[in-house]
């Protein structure tokens, strides 16, 4: 598979990571090597195989719909980059 610098920039955009031209070129080389490795998977016929997501066969556990968390807003906000009046501050999104 061939990737281009613009592919790398698009991926970085999707991942919300700022990347400059030089970094994109360097990343392209590294990714290409790894994707060549990944491509070896395609040679195996898996048409009759079910995907496996958990190492044990267990069903998703459910719990009663009740409040379990206590209010710890002040504690959690004490480590936030920017808060005001109990709210997390971010740059304005809506005009």
């Amino acid at each position: 598979m061939t990737l281009s610098v613009s592919d790398v920039k698009r991926i970085a955009d999707l991942a919300y990571i700022e990347i400059d031209e030089d970094q994109a070129k360097e990343t392209l080389n590294q990714l290409s090597g790894i994707f060549n490795l990944i491509e070896t998977m395609q040679a195996v016929d898996t048409s009759t195989v079910e995907p496996m997501s958990h190492a044990q066969s267990v069903a998703q556990r459910l719990r009663d719909d009740e409040v379990t968390e206590t209010d710890q807003r002040e504690l959690y906000q004490s480590i936030a980059p920017q808060v005001e009046a109990g709210l997390y501050l971010v740059p304005q999104v809506i005009e």
Partner: protein, 430 residues
């Protein structure tokens, strides 16, 4: 004392030959003297450790002590620990003082163990040489020009250098077993779901598993007895009856069938590793075990499968680090999206970014089936290999790594890693 087993330490504490405060002070002093060279710890907090030791001494005096009460344990900096800086080896979390305890930390606290410090690690557990930490590389105490392995390199170094009697690690693609091997200690990756992942900073959720690192199998068993247990806050936690992991330590090996898959002994293994394995096998045969040659044909697939599953899950997990509620936020930015982009570009190191980009790509529109689902299907084939193999044998043995510890700065990313990962990735996927 630094070489004492957990059982011996426990006995000395019970017999009042030493107090937890004295024991903790001894190890803190040793860390102070040796850590500047090894860099095994990111955070040491004498005040908290000694307060825990004093509390443990009270429990010991009251006769309510368990086997780990009063014993210092080094905690990998991936476990959220209330009141402690918890960095996961990253600039992203360099200001993160955890507001809560991970399930594993809670269990050690309940057992009365002392947290002796938070160990260094590859950033977000991504690495196998402990060279990607924001807090600098860790050295192998047997040869300070060599790597300790990773990602639990600080933990392995701390135990090997006797800076702590035992430590915790986490294993996603070998991060307990490989550093344990390269530092000459013992480590075990427990069955997925046994050890709570609650508060254990996620890398690849379907693979991540915490486990103990120590000087012997006996010590590992005692640590497992504390670490293993159902946790309703971890949706993949297994509900099983409590078992004593130390119960079979004295069991003879007579009749034990050791499986030797030929794929684990392929070319690339160094002579010294090969002869060490042969000597161990001879010893086991003398003790009554039998060896069974076998094959695990899908073993080589484990590497590409891992290179899809782990980055895919990592890219999803690490999307939470956006500079809004905690962690690093860039100083200047133009708008919200720019704040995300700059905070993440500054907060993550090169290896972490690379894996996020791979993961983002394999999960992106049009590639999800071709890569992620394909890899999950191959994962099942690998698991079936193991199920098949266990019809002929009770355990499978192989070299954890094909070579001894390589030198710092010499990791030739993909090629060498592929060789390094050969044995332990397959076990990781089942």
């Amino acid at each position: 004392m630094f070489n004492a087993s957990l059982k011996q330490l426990s006995l000395q504490l019970a017999e009042k030959k030493i107090s937890s405060t004295e024991l903790t002070t001894e190890f803190l002093n040793r860390i102070k003297a040796l850590n500047p060279e090894y860099n095994a710890f990111i955070t040491v907090n004498e005040e908290i450790s000694l307060a825990q030791a004093q509390a443990a001494d009270k429990i010991l005096a009251s006769g309510q002590a368990g086997q780990l009460t009063g014993i210092p344990i080094a905690q990998k900096d991936i476990f959220c620990t209330k009141g402690w800086l918890t960095t996961c080896g990253s600039k992203m979390l360099s200001n993160f003082v955890s507001p809560y305890d991970a399930g594993v930390i809670e269990r050690f606290n309940q057992a009365g163990a002392v947290n002796i410090g938070k160990t260094n690690m590859d950033e977000f557990a991504m690495g196998s040489s402990n060279e990607t930490s924001f807090y600098g590389l860790v050295k192998n105490p047997w040869d300070v020009t060599a790597v300790p392995g990773g990602s639990s390199g600080g933990a392995a170094c701390a135990v090997a250098a006797r800076l702590a009697p035992a430590a915790t690690g986490t294993d996603t693609g070998g991060s307990i077993r490989q550093p344990a091997a390269l530092c000459g200690i013992s480590g075990i990756k427990p069955t997925y779901g046994l050890v709570s992942r609650y508060g254990m900073i996620a890398f690849a959720s379907s693979l991540d598993q915490g486990g103990p690192m120590a000087k012997s199998a006996e010590d590992l068993a005692l640590l497992l007895n504390v670490m293993v247990g159902f946790d309703p806050r971890d949706s993949t936690s297994l509900q099983r009856d409590t078992e004593d992991y130390a119960r079979d330590l004295q069991k003879p090996l007579t009749g034990l069938r050791i499986g030797l898959p030929k794929e684990y002994f392929a070319k690339g293994m160094s002579k010294d590793v090969e002869s060490a394995i042969e000597k161990a096998l001879d010893e086991y045969r003398k003790l009554g075990a039998e060896t069974v040659e076998g094959s695990r044909p899908n073993a080589p697939l484990a590497i590409p499968v891992y290179y899809v599953l782990a980055p895919a899950e990592a890219s999803s997990n690490l999307s939470r680090f956006d500079g809004v509620r905690y962690g690093h936020r860039a100083k200047s930015y133009s708008d919200l999206a720019d704040m995300y982009r700059k905070s993440r570009a500054e907060g993550f190191g090169a290896e972490v970014k690379r894996r996020i980009l791979i993961g983002t790509y394999v999960l992106s529109h049009g590639y999800y089936d071709a890569y992620y689902i394909k890899a999950q299907k191959l994962r099942r084939l690998i698991a079936q290999d193991f199920a098949e193999a266990y019809k002929q044998c009770d355990i499978i043995m192989g070299p954890t790594t094909p070579t001894v510890a390589f030198n710092l700065g010499e990791k030739k990313a993909v090629i060498q890693s592929r060789c390094i990962y050969r044995t332990f990735i397959p076990a990781r996927l089942i």
